[in-house]
């Protein structure tokens, strides 16, 4: 680990300048070709599709329809509602995930017994496909046999709760599952970050008589800031675009209360066959999330 963490200058060897470009291309080409074909091309195509009326139908013709899709979307209450749910979901999961993971990472960074066990456990959700995580939590939250309700029953608390079936509580419940599912990446990243905070900094602060809390706030946290920015940004994007977990867990129900925008757009395309309109939803999602990230990342850069 120490070897990896050592900062390394990445300057280029000063030789053979002329052949360098060619070598670079040669090495990058195997990656470049498939990327161009299978991601740049579909992406450009997808963005353009958002300006057409493409829809299902035998020999259905597709025409460019300018901003028609967007004017229709502007008045589509269900979409904006879903977008709002997507934002609540993404921000809540990211924030809770961050707090929970930071706490865990701090604990794992201490010299505690059973640390190895906690580390292993912290990684397990990552080894599980989201589909399985969803299935597992469905079993956990089953109103009749799930251990959650049964535990409540033993404690004499209300126990006939249909966690995933009641519109008032489904979204919070799904968010908790989302936090559980996404903790490993965040925890490990933060742990790696904590371990690279130079111990001398903390020691110096300790000698100055700073309390644990002050040391955390004034030494550890600032040192972690770049990593925090990176991982929360990534988490936010991943969560906003996540699909499988909620698709299996609730499929957007009950009453559309957990209809993330990715599910909404999926339905628009693959249930109702409105491909162009669905792509337009994708475009709106990219633009709004992109704008938010731009603002957030710029603010973070400034603080540095």
């Amino acid at each position: 680990m120490t070897a990896l963490a050592a900062p390394a200058p990445t300057r280029a060897p000063k030789r053979r300048r002329s052949t360098e470009g060619r070598d670079a291309w040669l090495l990058v080409l195997p990656a470049l070709l498939p990327v161009m074909l299978f991601s740049v091309y579909p992406l450009v195509y997808g963005v353009m599709l958002g300006f057409t009326d493409a829809e299902a139908g035998l020999n259905a013709e597709t025409h460019f329809n300018g901003i028609d899709n967007y004017t229709a979307l502007a008045g589509n209450e269900l979409f904006w509602n879903s977008f709002k749910i997507g934002l609540i979901w993404a921000f809540a999961v990211t924030a809770l995930q961050f707090l929970a993971s930071l706490g865990l990472a701090l604990l794992l960074n201490l010299d505690l017994r059973l640390r190895w066990l906690a580390r292993t456990l912290a990684l397990i959700p990552w080894a599980m496909p989201p589909v399985i995580i969803a299935i597992m939590w469905q079993l956990m939250l089953n109103p009749n046999y799930g251990p959650v309700n049964r535990t409540l029953e033993t404690l004499g608390l209300p126990s006939a709760i249909n966690w995933l079936g009641e519109s008032a509580i489904a979204l919070p419940v799904v968010i908790i599952v989302g936090v559980w599912a996404g903790m490993p990446q965040t925890t490990i990243t933060l742990l790696a970050g904590l371990q690279s905070v130079p111990a001398e900094l903390n020691e110096a602060a300790a000698i100055d008589g700073a309390s644990t809390w002050r040391r955390f706030w004034h030494v550890t946290l600032p040192a972690l800031r770049p990593i925090i920015t990176a991982i929360t940004t990534l988490d936010l994007i991943w969560n906003f675009n996540s699909f499988a977990l909620v698709f299996v867990l609730t499929a957007g129900g009950p009453g559309g209360t957990t209809m993330l925008p990715s599910l909404f757009a999926y339905n628009e395309a693959f249930r109702y066959g409105n491909f162009g309109y669905a792509a337009a939803m994708g475009n709106v999602m990219v633009v709004l999330i992109g704008a938010f990230l731009f603002v957030y990342l710029r603010a973070q850069m400034r603080r540095r």
């Binding site: 299902a56 269900l78 109103p143 009749n144 009950p254």
Partner: protein, 432 residues
């Protein structure tokens, strides 16, 4: 530094190990493992038939029919592919769009009429035999006829919603099991009140996906919802939701939690004696016979009747042919074979569903001798008739985006009947 080197060598070893593990299956598998290039066919025509049968009994019955066909028709072989009701719609959208749809498509009337309007389904009118055509009533043919008059499917099995009764619970409460041609909603509600109490409920009803049930049962009150492309949500349409709501929240004879669950979630409560009655599609009878605890006694009550009688909407399962299929004629011939009375009767008994074909229905009555609730189930089939919602193109989207959420909220007691009415109507108009 020493630790580092050791780490490095150990890592190299594990890299080598991982690489070895990775390489092995690659070396062992030919290209065909990736599913590429196994398209070669002999001289015979091969039809793919995507079946949605899911109960073991029906899967076996379907396989038998296919085997019989393959034996009789060496030149036209049918290959059975298993699909699933859960994602059949999404899957068909993708398959039609990609030109990879199976030749013979199993689905249900309410789901396929949109595909018919999009031109994806072949007109079977020229191909189906007279026997098949005359076996099914005009009314039911209406549920698979597109707006241009094309017959886009053959209707196979029908389901109706029936009330299952735990006969021991009735006996314990000293309540007599109703008989007769039908059971009115009022009587049903009264029964439920008598049977509830003591931590139990008269009725458990898994209505997590409420729309189809409500639409189908509403026909018993003349609640048709649609007239052409116009929606009407009036007293008749709201009668069924209102009564269910009243049973759950006014006389507490129906467990409100069950309304938020799926039918299969509620079934164990029926077995445990928590619910004296259980409302579900008649196909659940198969699961009851399979998984009820020993000594569990049950019956099927007479069909529920509203002000317009014991009428329910017929939403038959369907067999269609993809318009882009290269073998429409052969596929239709297979469907014709599939529709024969003996085959339909076997399938019907596997799923405890009602054949839309009259000869097949008679055959079922004969073969089962009306045992195990079959008389009541077949009787409920008499009241099945076509409903306008099936032929409305945007019905699936309205159902998903407006009707289901609105009904769910109403059944969770979160909105009023007026709000339900508004949401159903406005939602439809939103889709325009």
């Amino acid at each position: 530094m020493e630790r580092e080197i050791e780490m490095r060598t150990r890592t190299s070893a594990s890299v080598a190990a991982v690489a070895g593990v990775l390489a092995l299956p690659l070396a062992l598998t030919a290209c065909s493992a990736f599913g590429v290039g196994d398209d070669d066919e002999g001289g015979a025509v091969t039809l793919t038939f995507q079946s949605l049968a899911y109960q073991d009994t029906t899967i076996a019955a379907t396989q038998d029919i296919v085997d019989a066909w393959n034996e009789a028709n060496p030149d036209v072989q049918v290959e059975l592919v298993q699909g699933s009701w859960d994602n059949v719609h999404d899957q068909l959208v993708t398959q039609f769009q990609g030109g990879t749809a199976p030749d013979v498509i199993h689905d249900e009337s309410a789901d396929i009429m949109g595909f018919a309007e999009q031109g994806y389904l072949a007109d079977l009118e020229p191909y189906l035999s007279e026997d098949t055509k005359s076996a099914v009533s005009e009314d039911i043919w209406g549920t698979v006829t597109a707006s241009d008059g094309a017959i886009v499917a053959a209707p196979t099995l029908l389901q109706s919603y029936v009330v299952f009764a735990n006969t021991d619970a009735f006996a314990d409460a000293g309540v007599e099991i109703p008989t007769g041609a039908s059971l009115t909603w009022d009587d049903f509600q009264a029964l439920a009140s008598q049977l509830g109490g003591d931590g139990g409920f008269g009725v458990g009803w898994g209505l997590q996906q409420p729309t189809a049930t409500v639409m189908n049962l509403s026909l018993g009150f003349d609640g048709t919802y649609f007239d052409g492309d116009q929606i009407t949500v009036g007293e008749n349409e709201l009668a069924v939701p209102e009564r269910i709501h009243a049973m759950a929240y006014e006389d507490a004879s129906l467990d409100p939690v069950s309304l938020t669950q799926s039918g299969s979630d509620v079934l164990p409560g029926f077995f445990d004696g928590k619910y004296a009655m259980y409302v579900a599609g008649n196909y659940i009878a198969q699961q009851i016979t399979e998984s009820a605890p020993e000594g569990f006694n049950w019956a099927v009550l007479p069909p529920l009747a509203g002000t317009a009688g014991a009428t329910q909407a017929a939403n038959p399962q369907t067999m269609s042919v993809a318009a882009e299929s290269e073998h429409v004629e052969e596929s239709a011939a297979f469907i014709d074979f599939f529709m024969q009375a003996e085959h339909q009767a076997a399938l019907a008994q596997g799923d405890w569903l009602i054949p839309s074909s009259t000869p097949a229905r008679e055959l079922v009555a004969e073969q089962t001798a009306g045992e195990n609730g079959w008389d009541a189930i077949l009787a409920s089939g008499e009241g099945l008739s076509a409903a306008p919602f099936q032929s409305v193109v945007n019905y699936p989207q309205w159902k998903d985006q407006y009707a289901t959420p609105a009904l769910q909220q109403y059944f969770a007691n979160e909105i009023t009947l007026e709000e339900l009415q508004t949401q159903l109507t406005d939602g439809w108009n939103e889709l325009g």
